[in-house]
């Protein structure tokens, strides 16, 4: 397997072809925050909290570490003023929907995100898609999916499938970064409201 050498935050890191920046960083013990990433699932690239700066062939770019493939001699910076600004804003935008989500609290502290920056519109869902993708990719049931688009996008259980599959599974509940109860709530609503 071909070895690739890259630099992350000034450190030489070895990686295999096909790895993402995030995987390379994790293998070297370098922390990059993530919200929508999960080792068992295909890379998704939706929350953008993992945004890092890369420099290749003289060009600088901001990319999502969880999907960007490693390249020979790539130079990666995981923190900078601009990256921190981006992460802070992403957190503030999400905190408007899920102000108490535990996954957001520590990061909010780290990046100085103000949970009251934007008017609350609590839906508790941050659209990470972990439940949707886990159900589709690992369980292969597709009992929960995204409906609608743009700002109206939300998760929804499909009653026909959910009524058969979900009560005995519930494996997606603990994946939820906001609170496990969120998925339960949406599920109950799908099954019991007309």
């Amino acid at each position: 397997m071909s070895e690739i050498l890259l630099q992350i935050d000034g450190r030489e890191v070895e990686a295999r072809k096909g790895m993402t920046i995030l995987e390379a960083a994790q293998s070297a013990g370098i922390f990059i925050p993530t919200l929508c990433h999960h080792e068992k699932l295909e890379a998704y690239g939706a929350c953008r909290i993992c945004t890092v700066e890369v420099e290749a062939r003289g060009r600088k770019n901001l990319v999502a570490a969880c999907v960007y493939p490693v390249e020979q001699n790539l130079v990666v910076r995981t923190r900078s003023e601009k990256i921190d600004r981006i992460r802070k804003m992403i957190l503030e935008l999400l905190l408007a929907h899920a102000p108490d989500a535990f996954a957001l609290q520590d990061l909010a502290k780290e990046y100085g995100a103000d949970k009251d920056r934007f008017e609350k519109e609590a839906s508790f869902c941050i659209h990470c898609g972990l439940c949707v993708r886990y159900c589709a990719e690992v369980k292969k049931k597709n009992a929960v999916g995204f409906v609608d688009r743009g700002t109206r996008r939300e998760i929804s259980f499909i009653p026909e499938i959910a009524s058969k599959e979900c009560w005995n599974c519930k494996e997606c509940f603990p994946l939820c970064p906001t609170e496990a109860l969120q998925a339960a709530f949406v599920l109950t609503k799908a099954l019991f409201s007309p």
Partner: protein, 553 residues
Amino acid sequence: MPRINSATELEELRKGILSKRDPNKPCIAICAGTGCLALGNDRVISAFEEEVKKQTLEAKVDIRATGCHGFCEKGPNIIIYPEEICYIEVTPEDVPEIVSQTVLGKEVIDRLIYTDPNTGEKAAHQSEIPFYKNQMRHLIGNNSKIDPKSIDEYLALGGYSALSKSLFEMSPEQVLEEIKKANLRGRGGGGFPAGLKWETARNAPGEEKYVIVNGHEGEPGAFMDRALFTGNPHSVLEGLIIGAYAIGSHQGFIYTRHDSPQLRNNIAVALTQAEEYGLLGENILGSGFNFNVEVHLDIGIFVSGESSALMRSIEGKNPEPRPKYIRTSVSGIWEKPSNLNNVETWANVPQIINRGSEWYTSIGTERSKGTKLISLSGNIVNTGVVEVPFGTTLREIVYDIGGGIPNGKKLKAVHFGGPMGGSIPESLLDTPLDFDELAKLGAPIGAGGMFVLDEDTNMVDVTRFFLNFLTNESCGKCVPCREGIRQMLKIVTNISEGKGREGDIELLEEISEVAGAASLCALGKTASDPLLSTLRYFRDEYEANIKEKKCRA
């Protein structure tokens, strides 16, 4: 239909078609484009058919229902050949008079010709009407000369000669070289050099490669791709087949609008006819080259026109953009090299092959070559589809072609590129139409929708309109775009309703920086462009709205 098996047979067929035609035979070309149909042109078409029957003129007069002529403002439009007399705002009641007086009597009916509202001057012929005469109609001009459902009419205009030339006189490399030398740039928004994209797909590893027509045309206010594709489908198809030959692809896709039955139908007819003639399918024109095309209907959501979303849609999945760290020309549909170009980009190909890159590069500016289709709308006298060479100034488009601003109002700004574009003020109206010049000013051409805005327009409302559009038309997958647009719309709405607060502008700038830098696809990356351009040129309107707590404009 006989199958054509060689270049010679194609030329013989063409000669046969032409020999059966009398160039002096009168032909009534009636626009059946979307605009004119909406104005009742189907009734005008039937009236002509009846009248010709009544006077038993079937053998002496041709009637042709065509694609959009361009001058939508004055529809229903008809053109009478061979004199090229244009009649505007035609009603079924005018028809008997037109047939006896003009078609047979060769006399112009004064009441039906164009009168310049400013000078009072009358113009009977297409070449005299300012709207047409100031254009360069290389692509759209053929619309009134052919019935889009007749491949023979396309052949009569020299159709498929570029394909024949490519297959028999040029190697794929030479075709590619010619497109590169012509510096053909993508017309779908980015202005990316088509030749370079083709080359990437050509050189990408893998046997199976795809070529695709992007006929989604989701930009609000853009209707020129539809006009061209509906009115002259073979010109796009011919370009696509030539591209496939250059790239080494044997499978093409046409991704087009689900909500335009006429467009769908014309494409379907074109594909069938091309296949019957052996211009599509196995062993095209006996050259040994195979190429097939499949049509896919779009999902009616703006982001499905984005390349990676479009390709997922063709795969039968949700049209959600993918991170494009590997280009779609290397890994696209089903991870195969996939070359996507816009309708208008493909339609440019046959003329480049026929007339050469040297001819092509003599038109336009230093870095933007050829002509560009523009959908002209908004506060403008002449709404319609316009084609001009790059380098034409915006002032010429607005005043010489567009006829200026209605109701004696002053021009305030022109907006290009829809929800991912920008507005530039009147003071910059002498800017030439050019990919790079306009991008520098913060109003990239985009697909070519040009909104003209008069002095009564509130620019904060323009921004609000586009942000509102995007809230329903993005896919909603990634945070900076979905949440960024949500918050920006809230703030802009507040400002426009007189509820703005100090600091709002700075907050808008902060959100737009993050959406621009961190979004997954170009929709989110450029969603704040209308905002940024209006802040650049019309910041005082935002400030006034906030300070005075009211709408100013």
